[in-house]
Each structure stands twice: as C-alpha cells, then as structure tokens.
C-alpha cells in the first residue's frame, strides 16, 4: 500500500513541473488550452497529494509498523483520533500535511477565480505550484513518509510503535497544528495574487479585493492556532503559564504580527491608494516568515521542545527562502515605477499617520522577536560562547512596545481619515482619559504599584471605553434617524460596516487579552509533598489532600489525587489532578486540574511522587485574570467572523454601461 502513496507523490512532483510549464507557456504563447490544462493540473495535483495523504492515514489506522513513520508516531492502543493526528505528529507526515493544505488552497483559489483574473491566474498558479513543488521535493527525496523499515535488505516490522508523544494526546493539540498550518499555508495565496498582480501590472487594487477574505480567514486560523497552542501549554504542560517565548512559539508569532500590520496598512491602499510598495513588502514578508517558521521548526537551527529532530531538511529551506526572497525583491524593485502611490497627507494628525505608527510598532516587535530568536545563533558564531535568550529578554523588549500598541489601538480609530482637529480630539478623548486616569489612581492606592501593570489596566480601560463610545455614538446616530432600541441600532450599525465594527470587536478582544496578560504579575505559587490529610495554603485558598487512587488502562497508568479546595473554611470544590504514565512511549505527563473563574484560576498540578517516601508532590498556582486571555481570544474570533460578513450597502448609484455583465455581477458580489 505504501507504494501507492510513494507513486502518488512522485507523480505529483512530475505534475507540479508540468503545471508550472503549462501555466507559463500558456500565458506567454497565449494558448487557452494550456491555461485550462494548468488549472486542471492543479486539481489533479490535489487528487494525487490527497491519495498520498489518505494512504498514510490508512496505514496509520492499519498499524502498519513496517513504515518507520507509523512505527515512530503511533502504537496499537492509541485512540483513533490521535492515530489520525499522528499524521502531523512527525516531520515527514507534517510536511505532507502542509503540502496537502496548500494543494487544497490552490484548488479553492483556482475554482473561485475560474472566471476572474484570467490574465493573473497563470502566475498565481505558477507561484502556488512552485511552493508545492518545493514541498514535493522534500517529501519525495528528503523526508519520505512512506519509508519502510529495513534490515539486511529485507523489509521488517516492529511489533508495536513508539506511540504519539503523550504531551500531544490532548484535544486542543489535535486541532492546534492544523489551525496553525491553515494559517501558515494560507498566506501563500494572497502572496501569489500580490506577486501576480505585480508581474502583470494590474491597474487598480483587484488583488486586494480578491484576497481580502483569504487574508482575514487565514489570520483567523493563525490566531486560533497560536491561542490553542497557548491553551494547550497552559492545560497540559503544567508549569502555570502559557507562553514561554520558545523559538517555535516565536516562529508562529512572527507572520501573525506582519499579517496584522498588513491587515491595517492595506486599508490605506484601499482608501487612498497609498503605501502600495509597503503592502507588497508586508504580504511577502508574511509569506516568507511562514516558510521561515516551518524551517525553524524542522531544521534544528535553534533548540526547542517543539522542534522536530535535527535533519538535513534545513539546507533545502535555506535555498528555497534565498531564491524566493531574491526573486520577490527583484520583482518589487523592477516594478517600483508601477507601484507609484498617490501618497499625500492632508494632516499629521490623521488616521493615516496613526496607521504608520501602528505598522512601525508591529514591525518593531516582530523584529525584536525575530532578533531574540536568532541572536543565540549569531552570538555563538561571533563570540564562540553559547548563550540563551529567553523570557526575560522578550518581556523586557516587547512589553513597552505592546503597551504603545495598546495605546494606538485606542487612539487610532478616533483619528479621522485625512485630518482631525484639536476640537474633534477633545470631544473623543476627554471622557475615556478622565475615567482611565481615575481608575489608575484607584488601583495605585489599593492594588498595585507595578508601573507596567498600572499602565496596562489604564490603557485597557481607555481603549475599552473608546470602543464602547464608538458603538454608542453610532447607534445613537442611527436611532436619531430611524428609531428603534439602542441594541438593534448597534447591530444595524455593525451590519452597515462589518469590517470596521468587526475590527473594533477584535480590538476589544485584544484589550481582554492584555488584561489577562497583566494578571501574570500577580500569580502566586507553592509546592509541597503531601500526606493524606495535609493542607497547603496559597493566597486565600487552602488545599487538603483527601484521597489518592491508582488506575491503569492499555494506553497509560495513572494516579489521581483528590484535593478539597476551600476559601476561609468554606469548601469550594473538589479537584482531581492526575499523573499519567504512558506505556508505549514510557513518558510521564501531568493532567492539570483547573478551577477557572474570571477573577482567577486555581491551578493544581500533580507534579509526581517524591523520591523519598513516595509521597505525592502537589503544586498549586493561583493565576489571576488568566481567563481573560481565552475570553479575549473568543471575542477576537467573533469579531473576525463579523468582519467576514459582507456589509449591507445599497449600491444604488448608476453604474457605467461599458461594464460587461459578468463584471457587474462581480462588483455587486464584492460589495
């Protein structure tokens, strides 16, 4: 069966080369036949890659331990859902997964544009399939998932596999990598359209309108992917936190930051035709950072818990990145004339300049993260001494930048496009500023003297109020005209301009997340070996160990502690932290027990049995406000979904008659 997969991949590689040639020759020689054939080849490619992927999944379910990939990442007693997830649990499979998502995206891009952008599509196909080609080289010749185990020229099998890493056997972990990949891979499409529009020198901003949904959906996937990872780290790793500034976490953050910058600055191009070069640079940077992130995870250049084993794959990525970046830079330089923008700024106090600063800060934090991630490599090369760049570095550098960004989140939307007079500013800023200063003073007097925490709370309050004010004023304006309740009017307001008000909701989610991040300053923690009946006190809570149970199943053995949590003598809840030992991989894990509340989480970890006396070691964290991070994520997701709904706009003005009918439908569909 593995031969089917191997053959499918090999043919997919040949097909990919054909597709690129057909698309390019079809375009240059103006052959409609070849153009259509290239589009169909994209679908054929998908069929071939899907066959290969299906074969791998089939073999995983068949427990075919002749395959080194199956033997290394699955075992007989693994639950079915994790057998499926083992597809992306290892290097080779995850490359195939990447490739499969890309080929699926390519099919969707080709299908949705089958009548549009005829002149651009051959280049879009060329770029998408070139990237596929690169991954096909990897899965065919460097990291083939269908490699069989061999001994003395014979195919052999092991009796049982080593199993999926038990840390990955957690529901959020099943969907975390797919979401992240959907995000990583998705940026190929906007990049392909941007480059194609440059190559063909499109008039106007068609590629932006076409790729708007792509960028938003992809950004959403990436946000979900990153936050699912954080949630997984919080619930599974059991160290009380959710973000360790690990190189691979950083790698997923980098394209997210540039994509966020792009989503903002692209408005400048849509509204005013400004920053054309910059937007192309941003979307290209996002794409290459996605590839770079994939590279970082796989090459072993930087050490990380997430990274797959060290492998020769890094070289291929370096070459691909170098060629891709060189080609893109050449293309942009070559088309600079064509990208001339109508850059004109009416006033320094305007939405335009606030976008410039927003982009500056986002890029600065992106650079800081990238720099910190790579600096150990650089420093070792220069000084010969190994160093670590960890959480203290990233926090020191990114916290101030993050706070400035939060500030801009509040003020940016209050600046009007083109110009804002002092009078307008006063109107919009007075009350939010007064209230947040008052809040700051109150907090300083009662809760904390920590400067950054105070700033974060004050800015969160400020931004939250400005957003609420936007909704309130807008709803009032609609109410004044048409009547109805404020809630209905606010909904109507959002429906009229979903992108803007969806965007405000996303900002609100970000505010919630900042509140949650700030909570980390106030964490309390304690750890103790406990006998039955012992009590541990943390913050206002006391924890009493009342029971300890051992169980065993085919996949893992576990010890479960029963702990009564009480606050001032009042019993709140019984919690069951668990310690597991996975048979196949011989690895222990902790199943954390969490009591989530908006104010604070109680987080109990069964850390293990102590060396002497075999007593359970219980670790307890009280994490204030951490739930606001997850809540904020949900709000961000909701806001993005709202922004994806088309705005309700009456397009009543007369359209020009020269438009072909298809064009007219397109315009209507886009609006």
């Amino acid at each position: 069966m593995e031969n089917l997969g191997s053959l499918a991949l090999l043919f997919a590689f040949c097909f990919a080369i054909y597709t690129v040639l057909a698309a390019l020759v079809g375009k240059w020689k103006d052959r409609a036949y070849l153009a259509v054939s290239a589009e169909r080849a994209v679908i054929a490619l998908w069929a071939l890659v899907t066959t290969a992927a299906g074969t791998l999944v089939y073999l995983l379910f068949q427990n075919d331990f002749r395959l080194s990939f199956v033997a290394a990442h699955s075992n007989r007693d693994l639950p079915a859902v994790y057998k499926f997830a083992a597809w992306w649990g290892g290097q080779e499979g995850s490359l195939l997964f990447w490739l499969w998502i890309l080929s699926t995206y390519a099919v969707v891009a080709v299908y949705t544009n089958r009548r549009k952008h005829r002149d651009m599509m051959p280049y879009v196909i060329t770029i998408l399939v070139t990237v596929q080609c690169f991954f096909l080289i990897l899965v065919n010749f460097v990291a083939n998932p269908f490699q069989v185990l061999a001994a003395g020229g014979e195919i052999t099998a092991v009796p049982d596999g080593r199993g999926l890493n038990p840390l990955l056997q957690y529901p959020a972990m099943v969907i975390h990598p797919p979401f992240l990949y959907l995000g990583y891979v998705g940026f190929c499409v906007p990049f392909a359209f941007a480059a194609a529009s440059l190559i063909t020198k499109q008039k106007g901003e068609a590629w932006i309108a076409t790729t708007r949904i792509w960028t938003m959906v992809t950004w959403l996937f990436q946000t979900c992917g990153i936050m699912l990872g954080a949630r997984w780290a919080y619930a599974v790793l059991g160290w009380g936190g959710y973000w360790a500034w690990d190189p691979v976490e950083n790698a997923s953050l980098l394209p997210w930051i540039t994509a966020t910058a792009y989503l903002h600055s692209v408005m400048m191009q849509e509204k005013k035709g400004m920053m054309k070069v910059w937007n192309i640079v941003l979307i290209s940077a996002t794409f290459f950072l996605c590839i770079f992130g994939t590279f970082l995870t796989r090459s072993g250049v930087v050490s990380s818990v997430h990274a797959f084993a060290q492998s020769p794959i890094g070289k291929y990525f370096v070459v691909f990145l170098a060629l891709g970046i060189a080609a893109t830079v050449y293309l942009i330089l070559n088309r600079l004339d064509f990208l001339k923008s109508e850059n004109q700024l009416e006033s320094l106090v305007s939405r335009e300049s606030s976008f410039l600063f927003n982009n500056l800060l986002l890029l600065a934090s992106c650079f800081a993260v990238l720099w910190g991630t790579l600096f150990p490599v650089l420093s070792e090369a220069v000084t010969g001494e190994k160093i670590s760049v960890g959480a203290p570095f990233f926090n020191k550098v990114n916290v101030p930048i993050g706070l400035f960004l939060l500030f801009l989140t509040g003020v940016g939307p209050l600046f009007a496009w083109r110009r804002t007079s002092v009078e307008s500013l006063k109107r919009n800023f007075l009350w939010p500023s007064v209230v947040s200063l008052a809040l700051g003073a109150a907090l300083l007097a009662t809760v904390t003297r920590n400067f950054y925490a105070l700033m974060a709370f004050m800015l969160s309050c400020f931004v939250g109020l400005t957003i609420l004010a936007e909704f309130y004023k807008g709803a009032r304006a609609i109410q004044a005209k048409g009547g109805g309740s404020l809630v209905v009017c606010a909904a109507e307001l959002t429906h009229r301009n979903t992108r803007r008000y969806g965007g405000y909701i996303i900002h609100m989610g970000i505010v919630f997340m900042f509140i949650g991040f700030t909570g980390a300053v106030f964490t309390s923690e304690a750890q103790q070996e406990m006998n039955l009946g012992d009590t541990l006190k943390v913050a206002a809570y006391s924890f009493r160990l009342t029971d300890l149970k051992q169980t065993d199943n085919r996949n893992y053995a576990s010890s479960v502690a029963t702990i009564e949590v009480s606050n001032n003598g009042e019993l709140l809840q019984t919690m069951h932290p668990e310690r597991r030992f996975y048979h196949a991989s011989e690895q222990p894990t902790s199943e954390v027990a969490i009591r989530p509340r908006l104010k604070e989480d109680v987080y109990v970890v069964f850390a293990g049995m102590s060396n002497e006396g075999q007593k359970p070691v219980i670790q307890v964290f009280v994490n204030p406000l951490v739930n606001w991070v997850w809540l904020g994520t949900l709000v961000v997701i909701g806001g993005t979904l709202i922004a994806l709904v088309p705005s309700k706009v009456k397009l009543a003005y007369a359209r020009t008659q020269v438009l072909g009918t298809t064009k007219k439908h397109e315009v209507l569909a886009q609006s």
């Binding site: 160290w239 400004m274 109508e342 300049s353 600065a364």
Partner: protein, 160 residues
C-alpha cells in the same frame, strides 16, 4: 547603569506572560523563585529554573540548593547570578548579560525602533509635501467639482 538594572528588575515583575512572582509564602521562597526566573533550566525543558516543573529535575534541584545556601549566607542576587554563570557558563542565564557583543543583542531592537521612527518621520515629511497628482491627471478644479456636484450628491444620498 545602576538605574538600568533597577529598571530591568521592574521589567521582570511587569506584565510578563511566563514569569510568576510569588506574593505569598516566605520571603526566601519568593527570592528563590525570582532568581530562578533569571536562569535557564538545562534539563531539556524550555523554561526557566523557576518555572521548570519536572519533578526532581536534577538541574533545578542543584541550582535551587545553591541559591538557597547563598541566600542564607546573605549573598545578593547579582553575586549569586555571577557565581552560577561562572559555574555553568553564560548559557545558564535566561537572558544574556548586557556586556560585550551581547550588548548588541539588547540594543538592536531599540535601534530598530529608532531607525523605524526616523523612517516614519521622513515618510511623513515627504507625504506632507504637496505634489501634482500622478499620471498627469489634472488636479480637480472648482469647476470640475461643480460640474459633477449634482451627480455626486445624488449618488451619495442614494447610498444612505
């Protein structure tokens, strides 16, 4: 330099994602934890010594024991960190000391920010400069606006 250090301690206590400062428990535990947050655990986890949660982690136990002993002897944080650095190499510090080449590591993000600011300033100045419209399109005169005013007002009204 002194205030810089003070600032860095403040930073650490700030809204950090991973650092957990302890507000209860004995003072010693709090200080132990704070120092642990500045050390990178070498057990293969990607955390600091403070937050490494591997039970009986050989590295964490060893380092914690040393820190406790030194704290008991009245040593201050800087000297403890210095001692550990000597013993395990710079790798053990979670962030490199701001000296020598590593100073570049610390300064670069801020240099980047400053360069960016200068670039933004330059861009803003350039954008403020009035220029003729691109592509030879005539700047709209009052007459042109007047010519289309009715159409524009009507179409805008229809849009509402």
């Amino acid at each position: 330099m002194k205030s810089w250090h003070k600032a860095s301690i403040l930073f650490l206590l700030a809204l950090v994602l991973s650092a957990q400062t302890v507000s209860t428990g004995d003072k010693m535990h709090v200080r132990l934890r704070a120092i642990g947050e500045k050390l990178k655990c070498q057990c293969g986890c990607s955390y600091t010594v403070g937050s490494c949660n591997m039970l009986n982690c050989h590295f964490k136990s060893e380092v914690d024991a040393q820190i406790s002993a030194d704290l008991g002897a009245g040593a201050d944080e800087a000297s403890i960190l210095g001692k550990l650095k000597e013993k395990y190499g710079t790798l053990v510090l979670a962030a490199p000391p701001a000296e020598g080449f590593n100073l570049v590591g610390w300064l670069m993000p801020f240099i980047g920010l400053v360069v960016g600011l200068i670039a933004v300033r330059y861009i803003l100045i350039r954008w403020r400069r009035p220029r003729p419209a691109l592509g030879g399109a005539p700047a709209a005169s009052g007459a042109l606006v007047e010519k289309f005013r009715d159409q524009m007002e009507k179409e805008l009204a229809d849009l509402e």
